[in-house]
Symmetry: C2
Subunit: 588 residues, 2 copies
């Protein structure tokens, strides 16, 4: 196919769009691939749509290859199935809700577990019908609080979602592995450097899950890796609990005067001055933070979190752990309701032994602690009095947490939970997510089949997603440079851009001839036949990012054209008689 740039619906922009935060967003807009229609909502221009369709095709082929069957569900959905699973409420403000003319509640599908489950329930009834994997490539809607980075976090986006249905756990594991392999093939074909990390299941419910992250400095996700092969989204890291010291070895609780010690560092300084003989650090202190957690239905409950004083709460780990609830730190009006809590000096216990945090304490506030706060560990912490701290406050003796909440920041060099060495941190873009949902949805919606003994059993499910429109941005992000886009051959809208430079009609004729011949040999060719200066044309070719560029210009008089590789920056002269074969060779 040969397309003339003079008639292609595209304009490159000289300036960055005001809202562009990252390079892929900037270049996709400037190169005329996409345009913003509303916050987090984009229109696809011809160049962008071609890339999107190529990604769709890669995904479709690999899903077909594992025997998944393509279907297509509506985006506009009735409330009832989502009500049955609780997600109508749990999704909170992220769900686009609307009413039809008759007042019926509807939603724009953020993901389709309910619909697929009901469809399989409608059609199938026996273990003989399973295993089954269904997928769709479809437009999804999520009313993100902060749409950002162009296609990376949009409110309308294209996703491949698939669902597996099995009669038992072994079947689910096999379906999950098949998807895992398909995803590896997909991301390899897209040319993305990616990692597979353990993940939280989040609002999906379910148990085992992994994410496919494209490694990218501008990614929203942080993940950890160890030399021994541990890899997890930072939200999914589970810190290993240390061995419990003997309770009997714990020192008695005692008071330290800490006037004006407004920071952990100030407290540590006083401890080292007044209680010498050991090297006090922030890691010896217990920091207690109060949150108000709002459930999707609007109900609120207080929550205290205790963690070593040298670590902050990681807000994304906290958000993931409490999902679908949302946590805000206590404000003055919250503290006003709990006079037992002295801001800056909060402790689970007072010097007289009164329990202050915990469901059974005087406040009744649930108290969850970092995994490092095991029974027998003792801590310096507040005294529930101004200007005083306690030391020797011992877990399991002086206070009893209600449970564990693993939301402290993970740091470079922390030990991997599986003992596989120190962790390193990096950032990535979530490209795929595979979940073992288990029976949650099948139970809520009554999807059962007869097993080989004629007994009704609940089906076990998996749920698998690929961000299709997001992949366009992720590949752009991974490949662009400071002059524009640089597509891999597999995804480029056109494999070759033929640029005629100069004013001589013969140059344009020759460029058209070469373009036509390449097109005739099966390549997608963009012919820059515009009456514009070479500078404009070269700059546009670099912004638009076709991998191969043929320049037909002054050298034609000497029988040569220039072949440029946008990906490597290589340029070389090629005899005009050889150019078609040379391009074909490089485009394979």
């Amino acid at each position: 196919m040969l397309t003339r740039l003079s008639s292609l619906f595209v304009r490159t922009l000289r300036d960055d769009p005001a809202d562009a935060e990252i390079p892929s967003h900037r270049w996709l807009v400037r190169a005329g691939y996409i345009r913003r229609a509303a916050p987090g909502i984009y229109s696809w221009l011809p160049l962008g749509l071609k890339v999107l369709q190529k990604v769709e095709m890669v995904v479709r082929e690999e899903m077909d290859a594992i025997g998944a069957q393509e279907v297509r569900f509506p985006a506009l959905l009735p409330r009832e199935p989502y009500e049955a699973t609780g997600r109508w409420t749990e999704y909170g403000e992220t769900l686009f809700r609307l009413q039809d003319r008759k007042g019926a509640d509807m939603l724009l599908g953020p993901t389709h577990e309910e619909m697929f489950t009901l469809m399989v329930k409608d059609l199938y009834s026996s273990y003989k019908d399973l295993p089954l994997s269904l997928y769709q490539i479809q437009t999804k809607y999520r009313d993100e609080a902060r749409p950002r980075a162009g296609l990376l976090r949009g409110r309308e986006f294209v996703m491949k979602d698939s669902y597996s249905f099995d009669v038992d756990d072994a079947g689910l594991e096999a379906s999950y592995q098949a998807h895992r392999v398909a995803y590896q093939r997909i991301f390899e074909r897209l040319g993305l450097e990616y990692v597979i990390v353990s993940a939280m299941a989040g609002a999906m419910g379910g148990s085992r899950s992994e994410e496919f992250l494209a490694v990218a400095d501008n990614g929203e996700d942080t993940f950890v890796r160890s030399p021994g092969g541990y890899a997890a989204n930072v939200e999914a890291v589970r810190v290993a609990a240390p061995a419990s010291p003997q309770l009997a070895d714990a020192p008695a609780m005692s008071v330290v005067e800490t006037p004006d010690a407004g920071t952990i560092a100030a407290v540590v300084e006083i401890l080292n001055r007044d209680l010498p003989g050991r090297d006090w650090t922030g890691a010896d202190t217990l920091k207690n933070i109060l949150f108000m957690v709002t459930a999707p239905d609007g109900t609120k409950r207080p929550l205290a979190v205790g963690l070593p004083g040298d670590r902050e709460v990681d807000v994304k780990r906290l958000a993931a752990a409490l999902e679908p609830g949302v946590a805000d730190v206590f404000g003055p009006e919250d503290f006003a309701r709990y006079p037992q809590l002295v801001v800056g000096y909060i402790s689970p216990v007072s010097l007289d032994g009164t329990r202050v945090l915990g469901k059974d304490s005087v406040t009744g506030i649930e108290y969850l602690v970092d995994p490092r706060v095991v029974t027998g560990t003792h801590w310096a912490t507040g005294a529930n009095e101004k200007d005083r701290h306690l030391v020797g406050v011992t877990a399991g003796r002086d206070f009893e947490p209600d449970g564990i909440l693993d939301v402290a920041e993970v740091r470079e060099g922390d030990p991997a939970p599986d003992g596989s060495g120190p962790l390193s941190l990096a950032r990535g873009i979530e490209m795929g997510h595979i979940f073992q949902l288990g029976r949650k949805y099948a139970e809520s919606l009554g999807l059962k089949v007869l097993d080989s003994n004629g007994k009704l059993v609940t089906v076990t499910m998996g749920s698998y997603g690929v961000g299709v429109s997001r992949a366009v941005a992720a590949v752009a992000e991974a490949t662009c440079d400071d002059r524009g886009l640089r597509w891999p051959l597999a995804l480029a809208p056109f494999q070759v851009q033929v640029v005629a430079t100069g004013k001589d009609a013969a140059l344009f004729d020759e460029a058209a001839r070469i373009g036509g011949e390449l097109s005739g040999r099966g390549l997608d060719v963009l012919l820059d036949d515009r009456k514009a200066s070479p500078g404009v044309k070269f700059a546009d070719a670099e912004i638009m990012g076709m991998p191969l560029i043929v320049v037909v210009g002054r050298g034609l008089a000497d029988g040569v054209v220039e072949l440029r590789d946008r990906r490597t920056g290589d340029k070389r002269e090629v005899p005009v008689g050889d150019i078609v074969d040379e391009v074909l060779r490089q485009a394979r």
Copy 2:
């Protein structure tokens, strides 16, 4: 591609779905092509999706062939552009509206004139950039009052919409003609019997427009045709006005007593009895009907319509003529406000010459009349008094209409407005619609370009739609019989269904071999490898409707298989060695 029916996600249904009104709806559901998710909203199962994708490909190829460029706009759109053109309000309840988490008004796109206009305004600025045609194949949303007939009138549906942009009227005409030709090719390739009829532009605005209707008894649209080539949607028929008689020839107005004459027929009977000498018919009477018209913004205005008493108002013609307003006949509470109007005896004029209907009359009610009510025609009509009628009531002398409203029913045998002979009526399904929008949207949204003289001119536009998901139903409707679907080769999910009947494993092996060979030769093959009775398999093959069916059964012992043509019902035995070539020959 070879697909085994034993693992295909499909179940045929023995019974008709309760809501199925027409055969295509019944069979698409029963054959496992689609399932209802909500009123007017359908999920596509694998078989249905394959047909949909084939229709999409036909449409895409023909749009590409006329140089239209594919883009893709969001379905979730901001309010502002639709506000600027007035359609936010004009669409009334048909528009799905919603608010995002920040309270911003949004809508689900019913059609995208505004977005395309703004995009071209964003990118282009010169006449040199035009002509331009852009298209998308995309999911659209309309909250229909009465979704019906499965895919024929849905609330979420797939449409190809395209838009042309030209600098002058000649350019628009050329773009319009190009689309017209593309649409002819599309509907020919889909195998539809269709007519091109003049149409109303409706809520789109604009002037010239034509519809492509698939001829179908179950179609929602009524159209007329004449032997001389006139063709129009019944809503678009414009009745020719007769020549005006001389006013001087009109008889004087006089009263007739018409006690208990509650119908036109009763009045006519009295006229023939009391005023003999001519043959009075309903066509000599003037019927006046009062409507309350509600604009999309909720404001109401009364409207009187006068038409020959032998014709009813055609509600669809009326709705089309008043769109985006909606007309309801006067209720008692409406009449109560106009004591001058005596129900059953309404006239534009009273015996004393008082004008009762018309903007300048005592009621001030706008009065529009049928085109046949020309100046000089005289009528029998009410007397604005109970039990009395007037005769000799003459247009242009005794009353003055405010204008013409052409909404009377069109009848079989009525003369074509262009004199091309008597009209015949038929029904059809609207498959395509082409509009010359003109400058309405470009003016509202400020789309101007510099012309060749450097002067800013407003761009003129066309808008063109094809119902893509509707085409699936229209083809099914045109081709199905009383045993199921019967797809043409070009759209069938699989060209061939190979059915193994019997219990012998060798039959299944041979069926698989034949299927594999056909698949290897490039056909899409569905292999019925289920352990089911021949009766079940044959019935399913007929319901599912693949055009060619190969039955591998008892005859195999004699070296023959059966080749059935689902479209014609033909069956014949073919030597097993010839079957692959024979199927290939028929599938071309």
